[in-house]
Amino acid sequence: MSYVIALAGNPNCGKTTLFNELTGSRQRVGNWPGVTVDKKEGTYKKNKEILIMDLPGTYSLSPYSAEEVIARDYIVMEKPDAVIDIVDATSIERNLYLTLQILETGIPTVIALNMMDEVEARGDKINAEKLSEILGVPVVPVTARKGKGVPELMAEAVETAKAKKAPKKLPIFDEKLDAAAAKIKEALDAAGEADSGWKAIKLLENDEKVAERVSAELKSQAERIVADSYGAGADLEAVIADQRYQYISRVVKDTVKKGRTGHVETRSDKADKILTNRILALPIFAVIMYLLFACTNSENFLFLGINSPGIWLAGVVETAWGWVTGLVEGLVGNASPWVYSLVIDGIMEGIGAVLGFLPLILVLYVLVSFLEDCGYMARVAFVLDRIFRRFGLSGRAFIPLLQGFGCSVPAVMATRTMESEKDRKITTILCGFMPCGAKLPIFALIVSTLFADSNQTAVTYSLYIFSIVVAIIVSLLLNKFVYKDETSNFIMELPQYRIPTVKTIAMHGWEKVKAYAQKAGTVIFVSTILIWFLSNFNIDSFNGNNAAANEDGSIMCEMDDSFMAGLGNVLAPIFKPQGFGEWRPAAAIVTGWIAKENVVVTFAQLYDEDVSPEYLEGYFSQYSPEELEELGFEGGTYDPEAAPDIYSESILFEGGDENALPTLHEDIPTKSAAYAYMVFNLLCMPCFAAVGAMKRELKTWKELGKAVGVQMLTAYVVSLLVNVIGGLFMN
């Protein structure tokens, strides 16, 4: 017999920690862990018959924001066999408020008193047996972070699910309220409504969602019952909340022994005095963001003259991949030219171009998850609220936007935590502007090739700033002209600061590597083959014309005549004003919509040809003899033998690394055009996976069309401005 056990509780009470503890590596979580905004299921690692459902956190069963609706609907409509209600024992009073509502649903429940170690450290004592006696359900003290008490908890939960025992009714409300509830329940029963007891209370509470689900007849009947005993239009919601809290304070008085009375200043309070300080908060945040970036993608780490951990690791991966490519080259060396081309120029080159950036993304991701796990994120959201409000957003938007630095998909999903629809819509659009991990390779490639003589770190960093500035301006414009609702309030619980365990961080990192490997092995692998095919074949490949024309009988064509060139040539004129109106950059943008990494894959394949002697001669013919001498040609005369070395060391490639593409500057000839190209890729429609997530959040095709339209328009206009204005001083 299999059972479904749901984990419910307040946000940040440790549900996901417990979920991971229970399910181990078998969890089916999203590719990118983060704030839980969707339900996730897994099987209990010690008994595969038991399905564990992790729900988004909620403060009440009358939901306020979209992700709370998911939790409520699951508990009330799907009816798990049992609920484990996780109570953060350090704030037991507030947490029991949800507990009472869960008990009202009549679903078999077990209470997990989590964070008992912190309660004990404070010198407080909670009498779990007494609490269990009063509430009539099992209560198990646990410390989910350390796995303490978890087996006992599961044993109780399974017992409870098997027994199917509904929690008893508690004497929470006074007689008058109980009588009104009983009358409504009677009416609901007469109409054959299920869960009548729970619905009766919700109707008293004026819960709109429940009121929508019952008939108009029942709704007005309930209103009459309320009017009879409390007078017309009485606001029972506050009365009910009040009576629940009063009941809780009686329970807490009987079960909790405080070590010290009154609020004792904790380490979190002390940390907050600095981190949310009215003057220091923003500078501290700026420094942290800079460090985040410096660790990831800096060739002069903290001005120490060494590579950052991210760059260093990237070097290691590149070396390893080069070695693997060497092996594979040996294997296919004797194969037919098109197989060799597919395997080496297509797959190995393409995947390698993407894989090399995994370390950068990994380092960034681990650092962001550290910030998320330690409790700082909520503070930043709060500190930034005032600034965000000026641009017509709540500080809450910060969390999705920061997640957007990792990946747009979870970022877009995280917009659910915002209660105003306007904030959600705008933030969904802005998430697409963030420099996600997959865009990082585009920047790195272009910067190392076309900005080789500039401060490369500064150029990349400027793109991050750029994305934020654009997001601000677009938000202002959208607030002014498109979505004119009110900005939502900022209400957020500030969790205790906790130092994340190495285990959690390592797990996040590992999940990330796994997800990335999966992506490289599926979407990007297939794209790589597709891009190779489109770039090396055309119609004539299949009617024998190529085979007849080519000396070796190959059916492949010149890249300039390929399908890809056809596609790129259609789009290229559109980008003339941006300075990169050539078929290769234009086609790469399109492949980037499948996955942004594809831009790099496409470049790696399209610009892979060796620099020929003819090309070099043409390149250097633009220089006068004096300039040639300056470049290193003895006596100022062109020397074909010295040319390759001088070419790779020429102004353009000074400091350029092995990633640099030697012929990219043919198509993207100026720095302003190169910057515009990066900006266009940064701001335009995100990959299809992210667009799918946007559709889920925005619901309708019309809204999605509007959002993608805004992104495309922004990308086009801003990149145009970059090329025109940048052209005045960059080139």
């Binding site: 009358s62 507030r94 005032r386 309030n489 900022f490 619980e493």
Partner: protein, 74 residues
């Protein structure tokens, strides 16, 4: 009884009791879920340009200034 004042006017370290809320119904409900009920003690533990950090039922909650001025305390 003391006169009502807006929570936003309180100073750091001050403790008062919540009396009423002048704002939208759904926001009121959410505040109640978080422990902001009539008669409940609220202490200001932090303040910055965004708003205030309050201690309610032993939990730190951050509110923006606009919202804090809709909550009346005594």
């Amino acid at each position: 009884m003391e006169r009502l004042m807006a929570l936003a006017m309180m100073e750091i370290g001050e403790t008062r009791t919540i009396q009423e809320f002048h704002g939208k119904e759904e926001v009121k409900r959410h505040l109640q879920d978080l422990g902001f009920v009539k008669g409940e003690k609220v202490q200001v533990v932090g303040e910055n340009p965004s708003g205030m950090i309050l201690l309610v039922k032993g939990v730190r909650i951050a509110l923006n200034r606009g919202l804090a001025s809709q909550i009346m305390v005594a």
